[in-house]
Symmetry: C2
Subunit: 620 residues, 2 copies
């Protein structure tokens, strides 16, 4: 193949493209005064081969869903990605010089504000889990799209990469090809494995991948490796590319101490001059390989949003069970809905969905980072992924949750088993910081249903909403307090108890709502009226209802929650009532809990009706 005239031209073309990527990366980072030119230079040949020979994509339609997909997991090499799209003709080369400016779309690390980026990268080890999600989506859609994920060698130390390695092998994702740019040098010193390519190979093979070791600066060898990847069936391929950091930059190639440093102007000019000399002029003869242009017919939604089946006063149901029921019904009518779970599907009740729509259920096993990453990939490609596990185990994937916020992805998280009310399993299984975690991200919607009807509603609302959403779900069975006709809205609370003589407002959600209702009954007996609000929507919060309810109820508020005190429901309520000078007294879990019976723990850790009654009496 390398001996024909046509391929000689292709080699020159790709070599020239790679040289231009290097030149652009040097120029852009020098202009910005920061950035990672040496990390771009090691990857330039790989990116050139991918963009200008291997991948089928329409450079005028970066959003075309049929395009092959490129995920730059080593996000700090952003300039090489930007340069590749500029080379492909999407925007003029001069725009690259706006890199990292406040007003530019070319940020320090890529984000999906750019039409050719699926997810924000820059937190390492996230590209492969996302790539798995995109590859799963292609399989689901029976598309022949291929997915390429470019990683750095340093980042392959992240556990999330190995979670994806085992899942990618297990799921036999042969439409996925990962590449590691093994340039030997991390930020602060050599990587663990440096250039021990045989160790990389043994590891990936052991995880079920077809592994190819290649000189990452040999265009012809790279072309052959990508061909081999495409021909490999039944398993994903990893191309382990031995490279040099700063390759092609005179005086800097393979040198330590050059991570994340732009070249000073003079050195940059010298380096660019050397690179320019090697250009053959072949680069401009590139024409894109377009993808299959047949439009995929949209899969129709086959029914209206299913209605909650629970009757007020009916059999007690856990909110997690209602979520599972709702997801199950939702899956029947909406083919965009997919579900992922981390080996707790019999506790989150997503097994109901699995039974009905097994092809849209993805078992994530006990590997939460990869599960969330796959959800991100699926969301980036138009699916509505519901991703579930115990709330506490989402802390495992906080960095992915954070990056999903930056990416503004349409991922739905359902966290079950929150708070001390899970009981005997003890603190390691109790989600007590999940509101703090999810609500910290300013663009996340956080819903906290209390009964089965509202949990059902929350599930439907999450599916309709476009944007990252968290639903907080409990383990114990609770009474049904809302009728199936009750209308829930994001950003709206429910006033559950009110009268003309309310002397204090109690705001709760989940199990503590029932404690508040118990407190209401008990105080009522003693002639004290309180108003009770079911918060339901923690973020956005129902400022109007809270202010009005507090004003009508003595201008004093108690919040009560099965969550730690900082960053929970109480802080959310305080944030809207503080400026109104309405005091909010938080009742929450304030110490590390213990195993025990659920109701005993609710008492012991001070979030029961007794604590509410005592606080009300203290305040009046």
């Amino acid at each position: 193949m390398v001996t024909t005239a046509a391929s000689v031209n292709l080699l020159k073309l790709l070599q020239d493209k790679a040289t231009r990527l290097r030149i652009d990366s040097i120029r852009a980072t020098t202009a910005a005064g920061s950035g990672h030119p040496t990390s771009c230079a090691s990857a330039a040949d790989i990116v050139s081969v991918l963009f200008f020979s291997v991948m089928r994509f329409d450079p005028k339609q970066p959003h075309n869903p049929a395009n092959d997909v490129f995920v730059l997991s080593k996000g700090h090499a952003a300039p090489v990605l930007y340069s590749a799209w500029s080379e492909a003709g999407l925007f003029p080369r001069e725009h690259l010089l706006t890199l990292r400016q406040t007003s530019s779309d070319l940020e320090g690390h890529p984000t999906p504000k750019l039409p050719y980026v699926d997810v924000a990268t820059g937190s390492l080890g996230q590209g492969l889990p996302v790539g798995l999600g995109i590859a799963l989506n292609a399989k689901l859609e029976k598309s022949d799209q291929r997915v390429y994920v470019l990683m750095g060698d340093g980042e392959s130390a992240e556990g999330s990469v190995w979670e994806s390695a085992e899942l990618g092998g297990n799921d036999a994702l042969d439409n996925l090809c990962a590449i590691i740019d093994v340039n030997r040098l991390g930020q602060s010193g050599p990587t663990m494995l440096q250039h021990h390519m045989e160790v990389y190979k043994a590891r990936w093979e052991a995880f079920g991948w077809h592994a190819i070791v290649v000189d990452g600066h040999d265009i012809s060898a790279l072309l052959k490796a990508f061909d081999e990847a495409e021909e490999t069936k039944g398993k994903p391929t990893i191309i382990l590319a031995r490279t040099l950091k700063g390759k092609g930059i005179v005086g800097i190639e393979d040198k330590e101490g050059w991570h994340g440093k732009p070249l000073p102007k003079e050195e940059a000019d010298r380096a660019v001059a050397v690179l320019e000399k090697s250009l053959t002029g072949e680069a401009d003869s590139w024409t894109p390989k377009l993808p299959d242009q047949r439009a995929t017919p949209a899969v129709p939604i086959t029914g209206a949003m299913p209605k909650s089946p629970y009757a007020i006063g009916g059999k007690e149901v856990a909110t997690r069970k209602a979520f599972g029921d709702a997801l199950h019904e939702l899956g029947k009518v909406n083919p965009r809905v997919v579900a992922l779970d981390a080996d707790v599907k019999n506790s989150t009740f997503t097994e109901e969905f699995m039974t009905t729509a097994p092809q849209r259920f993805f078992e994530g096993y006990i590997a939460e980072q990869n599960m969330v990453g796959m959800s991100m990939g699926l969301a980036a490609r138009g699916k509505i992924p519901f991703c579930s596990t115990f709330a506490c185990f989402f802390t495992r994937a906080f960095d992915f949750i954070r990056m999903a916020a930056i990416s503004q992805l349409n991922v739905k998280f359902a966290g079950t088993h929150v708070g001390v009310s899970i009981g005997e399993d003890g603190p390691s299984q109790m989600g007590l910081e999940d509101i703090a975690m999810f609500a910290a991200e300013p663009n996340y919607t956080v819903l906290y249903p209390s009964d089965a009807t509202s949990a059902w509603a929350a599930t439907m609302l999450a599916a309709e909403l476009v944007g990252p959403t968290y639903i907080r779900l409990g383990r114990p069975n609770n009474p049904i307090v809302y009728s199936p006709d009750e209308k829930f809205e994001i950003g709206k609370s429910k006033v559950l108890r009110q009268g003309n003589n309310d002397r204090i407002l109690v705001v709760a959600a989940g199990v503590t709502l029932f404690e508040a209702l118990k407190a209401y009954d008990e105080l009522k007996k003693g002639g004290i009226d309180i108003r009770v609000v079911d918060l339901f929507s923690v973020q956005p919060i129902d400022r109007a209802t809270l202010v009005a309810s507090a004003r009508a109820a003595g201008n004093q508020v108690i919040t009560v929650e099965d969550h730690y005190s900082h960053g929970g429901l109480g802080d959310a309520v305080q944030s809207v009532l503080s400026s109104e000078r309405i005091p909010v007294y938080k009742i929450a879990v304030t110490e590390i809990p213990h195993s025990g019976k659920p109701q005993e723990l609710v008492e012991k850790f001070g979030i029961s009706s007794k604590s509410i009654v005592a606080k009300v009496k203290e305040l009046l």
Copy 2:
């Protein structure tokens, strides 16, 4: 060895011990009405061999630092651990029946409230990182202590396990032996690899471990494997034990659908009766193998706490640099201090410590979960670990941070590069939810120094304090506002500007403190006096100073922070001022940020002096 009379007795003894562990696990979980008897049963032979033949430990002194160490990573098998210590004589068998009760120390998953537990487990995939930390500590102390970590097979899907696998191999920790109880069944279905022992073996060998596949119910084979592990030098060993879930429990062995379910009373009695029949009476002849009883001489602290070298008005210094400087000096006088970093030591400035005390510096590479887990292990063994990376990347290890809270461990976290003020690198590198994360844990101390002097002080205070601590550090250089003689305390703030006509209180920390000081100057020119408090200690918070300052400054407060709005500094301040009916107006980052120059971003995202001035004017 298995042919001598003595060893025949040993085999019987260990078989009997294993049988008793099974009986106890069944009885305790049936009494509790919840728990995981089948996960205990698969591990019983392994635990029996470890406790009653392999490990050297003093059963009367579970805290003896010379004991060999056992970490039950599969924490849901807690009853088998409790039973082993009861069998060893630490407490009477009847106590096991208090399992999972509110008043019992025998919780659903082990916690260090028990003298024989180093860290809380129950969130899977954490035992091995902790074990690495303990093994590193033994190497550092030149102790011949051996460390055994028992994992489940389901949990070996966690990326954190593979982070530890690569680091354990890289660090050649031959005093570490991990065991996987490969019982084939997860919670909700079979594991990914089921009984494909050869795949496990290939993976661990590829990660540099000596791997031994063994029948996990063959006592003699287990003894041989542990001998081989002890003899293996230059690499850690993993024993891959093929087991059956529920082994020895009639009717349940190797059956799906029995995860986390106690046996009903009648079935339990029947199972116990069968097991009891197999007892030979050999178990009571056990005598412990005691560890080396020579006391390790305590390493003396060689000097007083070093004093900050920065002068007011001197050269601007970043708080991260001051942290690095302080840690460096601290390391010289306090040999208990160790440092861990995730390939950003040239950004966190922990490379200064590394230079002085290379044997106490552990490069964690880009594998934050394992780094935090190792810190937990080191802390459990008396070290004072300072664990550092960019604040945003600690989100990667939130589940470890959470479990360190449950374990009440003495770990110190230093998170650098917080907020939009990092500038050009963009949102993926900005820590904007780190206060929400760390302060959610009720027993964490959270310090947020603003200048180099206070960052130095925070480092020293963290070292002195016993308990988990987070220090929030910034990227940009800031002026020095405190003299080296200024005394900082945990739980105390500093009033930096005050007068007799203060009309509003502004509370800030980090870069926003300097914005507040600028606002002070500007407002002063216009004849408006404001009071400025440097919060310094976010948790615990200085209620007295905040209330007094707010009262003296118009009963109105503005908080300003380079952090997202929910769960940050503002919420902490609101929580103490709400009940005082003092309104708190939060100025924080309220949207996903962008790349740009630091000061431009501080302006753009509304946390600059301009925003403060505007808010003050609006309120007055």
